[in-house]
């Protein structure tokens, strides 16, 4: 197992002083370091536990991602700019014609995500299958049983290491059948370390002499060409090096961050046709000519979008959307949630930036756009009158096609297969806006869906039956009466009028 730990120190913070890092022959001690941290573990197929082998051997490519939707703070994020709607995202391409049944039973057993089959639970995008769960607890749910499984119930140190991942802002698992390796990436992006003052206090030490741990403490290397990121700092291979090596690296980056913030909420009252309104502090400029501003939504049950409504360009323009480019997944317009087996649908919308920029000079107001949604009926409940439905905020980004494209293979932090970049050409740079949480702890909005309270189920049944019987008997009675001629009193009068 290879391990790499990167600390990204914001340029605003004090640079890591000499006594923050203490390298010895077999360990590196870090004290009071305020930084974003990324841990990367690389395991070969042979190093994987058996259950993981069973899962990955059916897949060509597998990505399992978690994002906790917490605030990133207004810090410099360097190469860690890309985000996803909060929750768990699974992308899988089968190896040959595999049904990936092991993946399905793995997630239903360990993550408690209902999965009768990949076909039933995942949405299909060509060969790629995608599943989304809008729940930040998905990560800790899966880690607890997994820690037991990997470490055995008694090994607390090992289990703590696995469970530590649950505090990460994002965790990516990636398996690739061509390299036959599993890569686990965890990012603690809020720079909240394990010390009380929010700094990192850790001792990095290989478990066995064979394990390699590469540690880097990096910060912005100053100005770099556009689309590139330059980092400088110190590197060490713990257990091998005697000294920290100073480095300065530049590499092209697919993802960049922008300071512009956005927030989202439902317009109220919500009813069964809610609209998510997103407000962007855009400031009237774009990163470059030819860039489009996009929003990527994951729309889980009980929400759904009406693809025919989203096709109505004029309506969407009035909602600040230039064009809805992609709607994929479950878009049945009538069925209730209990008749649905898939998680929902994804929507990629290109925002109407032209319209906004043309009025920016005059108005100087933030940009707004709206996604019209609908809600399925939800199951009845004896103790509740409503269910909470949560919708993660979209990720909002500029997509800038570039002719001067450099291979991303030189980027040690590259991240791909996020769910939206496949809809753009390979030579596209992404500049991500930053969600700003105001009254919430997660980038999610929720509303209450009215449901039928079934405590009165007896009254509903008998009441309906009673009403039908009364109505029926009344009509039946008049039919019988008329047929037997009881109603013929006014015949004479009727004839007169004729």
């Amino acid at each position: 197992m290879k391990r790499r730990i990167t600390f990204l120190v914001s340029p605003q913070e004090n640079e890591a002083s000499e006594d923050a890092l203490h390298l010895t022959k077999d360990s590196l001690e870090i004290r009071g370091l305020k930084a974003i941290r990324e841990d990367r573990f690389t395991l070969t197929f042979e190093e994987l536990p058996q259950f993981a082998k069973d899962v990955v051997k059916q897949t060509q490519e597998l990505h399992i991602r978690f994002d906790n939707g917490k605030d990133y703070e207004d810090k410099w994020k360097g190469p860690f700019a890309s985000r996803l709607p909060l929750g768990a995202h699974i992308f899988a391409t089968p190896l040959r014609e595999s049904k990936m049944a092991n993946l399905c039973s793995f997630i239903s057993k360990y993550a408690d995500i209902p999965c009768s089959s990949i076909e039933a639970a995942f949405i299909t995008r060509g060969r790629l299958k995608q599943l989304y769960v809008p729940d930040t607890a998905a990560l800790s749910n899966i880690l607890k049983p997994l820690a037991n499984k990997i470490c055995g119930p008694s090994k607390k140190v090992c289990k703590d290491k696995v469970l530590a991942l649950s505090t990460a802002t994002s965790v990516d698992l990636r398996y690739d059948a061509t390299t036959k390796s599993l890569e686990v990436n965890a990012i603690w992006a809020t720079s909240n370390g394990n010390a009380k003052d929010g700094a990192w206090d850790i001792l990095v030490k290989p478990d066995t002499p064979a394990d390699k741990i590469e540690v880097g403490v990096l910060t912005s290397g100053g100005k770099s060409p556009e689309d590139e990121i330059t980092l400088r700092g110190k590197l060490a291979n713990v257990g091998q090096d005697n000294e920290l090596t100073p480095v300065r690296v530049s590499f092209p980056s697919r993802h960049h961050s922008r300071q512009n913030i956005y927030t989202a909420d439902f317009n109220r009252p919500t009813g069964l046709h809610p609209k998510l309104e997103v407000t962007l502090a855009l400031g009237g400029n774009s990163p470059a000519d030819g860039c489009t501003l996009n929003a990527y939504f994951t729309v889980p049950q009980p929400f759904f979008v009406d693809p025919y409504q989203l096709e109505d360009d004029k309506l969407m323009k009035s909602y600040g959307i230039n064009k809805v480019k992609v709607v994929e997944g479950e878009t049945d317009l009538e069925a209730p949630t209990w008749a649905m087996s898939k998680w929902g649908a994804l929507v990629l919308a290109e925002l109407d930036i032209e319209q906004y920029l043309s009025t920016w000079e005059k108005k100087r107001s933030p940009m707004e756009f709206t996604l019209p949604l609908h809600i399925r009926y939800m199951p009845t409940h004896p103790e509740k009158h409503s269910e909470t439905a949560t919708l993660p905020w979209p990720v909002v980004f500029w997509a800038c096609p570039s002719e001067q494209w450099s291979k991303m293979s030189t980027n040690p932090f590259d991240r791909r297969m996020l769910g939206y970049e496949e809809y753009f050409s390979e030579e596209t740079y992404f500049h991500h806006l930053t969600p700003k949480l105001i009254n919430s702890t997660n980038s999610i909005s929720s509303l209450e869906v009215p449901i039928l309270n079934s405590v009165d189920s007896q009254s509903i049944e008998w009441g309906t039956m009673g009403v039908i019987v009364i109505g029926f008997l009344w009509v039946f009675g008049t039919i019988v009466a008329s047929f037997l001629g009881f109603g013929g009193k006014k015949v004479g009068e009727h004839q007169k009028k004729e």
Binding site: P269, T270, G271, L272, H273, Y308, K314, L315, S318, D332, L333, E334, P336, W338, Y377, P379, T380, P382, E383, H385, L447, P450, I451, L452, N453, S454, V455, D456, S457, Q458, I460, E461, G463, T464, M465, V467, I468, I470, G471, F472, W474, V475, F476, G477, T478, I479, A481, S482, F483, G485, F486, G487, G488, K489, K490, V491, E493, H494, Q495, E498
Partner: protein, 420 residues
């Protein structure tokens, strides 16, 4: 009213629809609140699939005969700004044709004066609700003309034509099958006074021809459509309507119950023994509906076919498991051929009470539904349920009045028919 000609009335009603149609185009062009009915987009999308030699059932929620999408093929022609509205024009023309046939039925078969016939036909022709529905692009008006044409053909004793129209109507929308028993009973030869004579002489040439043409037309259309579009045609045109469990709120009194029974049931922790009853009355809903609309009411057909068909339709819609306001069009088209015999007109107070109660209970329901749909209020129980139940009971009362009216015209109608 008294002096205008039929042509003038038809021109007036065409003008009314033209104005509505143009206003609709204006509203669609300027507002995000569309005048055009959402179903019209379904039909025209389906027509677009047909124009590329694909199946109309590729369009989600297209649950109609392919004939409808064929009829609307011109909506795919260019320039779109002109041809897209073709279907609305077609539906509006259907409306006017239905109105014209109403006048013909009242004049020729019922012996009313032109003026009186036009007065009643105006209820349909100059009805802004009817004009709105067809110019918004809802196909229910087209069904109106089919049903009136059926009544016209039957009363004109055009047996083959009536059979063909009925077969076509049932293929188009299942419910007109309820008219079959009425028409068959109405075709009774004169002079069959007692029940034994009626039974013995039941099989007549007219009845045989009518049944044969109706079945042949219906099955031939189905066979052709099945040959072209296969299983999806059967699923969407027929099976969907028989198996749907419409759990979303609508005017039907069964609605809340359908939601309760189709949802997974969570037992109440305080009364865990209480389960929804295994007797699913919602599955038996067709019994009172069919018994009244297709079995009992046809027994009155001999007395007054047009009023009976109105009563049947009214009963079918009232007792249906799903009721939306478009279904009201099904019986509104028959209103002008029933009202001349109605005590609701002869006793204005009764008529006004019926109309007011029909409108008010519907309004109450709409208020509850609005709160649920747009304000997130939980009105499922008892509000929405009670409003639907109230509307149902009002409809049953009106149906009772209608049945009483048909009962009263017995003697004169019987005699008229005998001496014709």
């Amino acid at each position: 009213m008294a002096t205008i000609s039929v042509t003038t009335l038809l021109l007036l009603s065409s003008l009314l629809r033209a104005v509505f149609l143009l206003y609709g185009l204006y509203q669609d062009a300027t507002s995000v609140f569309k005048y055009t009915d959402i179903d019209y987009l379904v039909f025209t999308d389906a027509a677009r699939y047909v124009s590329t030699a694909s199946s109309p059932y590729l369009r989600a929620t297209y649950r109609y005969t392919p004939l409808l999408s064929w009829l609307l093929l011109p909506t795919t022609f260019h320039p779109q700004s002109l041809w897209f509205s073709f279907g609305k024009v077609l539906f509006a023309v259907g409306d006017i044709l239905a109105g014209y046939l109403i006048i013909q039925v009242l004049r020729q078969s019922h012996g009313f004066t032109a003026t009186k016939s036009m007065k009643y036909a105006s209820l349909w022709l100059l009805n802004p609700m009817v004009a709105t529905i067809s110019t918004r692009g809802s196909s229910e008006g087209l069904l109106g003309v089919i049903v009136i044409a059926l009544l016209w053909a039957v009363e004109k004793k055009r047996v083959v034509v009536s059979g063909a129209i009925l077969g076509f109507a049932v293929h188009f929308k299942i419910y007109p099958f309820i008219y079959a028993p009425s028409i068959l009973l109405w075709m009774e030869p004169p002079g069959q006074r007692d029940i034994m004579a009626k039974i013995k002489g039941f099989v007549t040439k007219d009845r045989t021809v009518f049944t044969f043409t109706a079945l042949t037309t219906f099955m031939a259309l189905n066979a052709v459509m099945y040959a072209i579009y296969g299983h999806p045609f059967i699923v969407h045109t027929f099976l969907h309507h028989l198996t749907r469990l419409d759990h979303r709120h609508n005017f039907s009194p069964y609605n809340t119950l359908l939601y309760l029974k189709s949802s997974p049931f969570t037992p109440d922790p305080y009364y865990p023994a209480i389960q929804p009853s295994s007797l699913s009355i919602e599955r038996l809903a067709f019994i009172p509906q069919i018994l009244i609309s297709a079995v009992l009411l046809p027994l009155f057909a001999k007395r007054n076919l047009s009023a009976t068909m109105f009563a049947q339709t009214f009963a079918f819609v009232t007792f249906n498991k799903v009721v939306t306001s478009q279904y009201f069009m099904w019986y509104i088209v028959l209103l002008p051929v029933y009202l001349p015999y109605s005590s609701l007109l002869k006793s204005p107070i009764r008529g006004v009470v019926a109309l007011v109660m029909w409108v008010v209970t519907q309004g109450l329901w709409l208020g509850q539904a609005y709160q649920l749909e747009f304000e997130g209020g939980n009105t499922f129980w008892p509000g929405l349920w009670a409003a639907a139940a109230g509307f149902f009971l009002v409809n049953c009362w009106i149906l009772g009045v209608v049945v009483g009216d048909i009962g009263r015209v017995e003697k004169e109608e019987e005699e008229k028919k005998v001496y014709k």
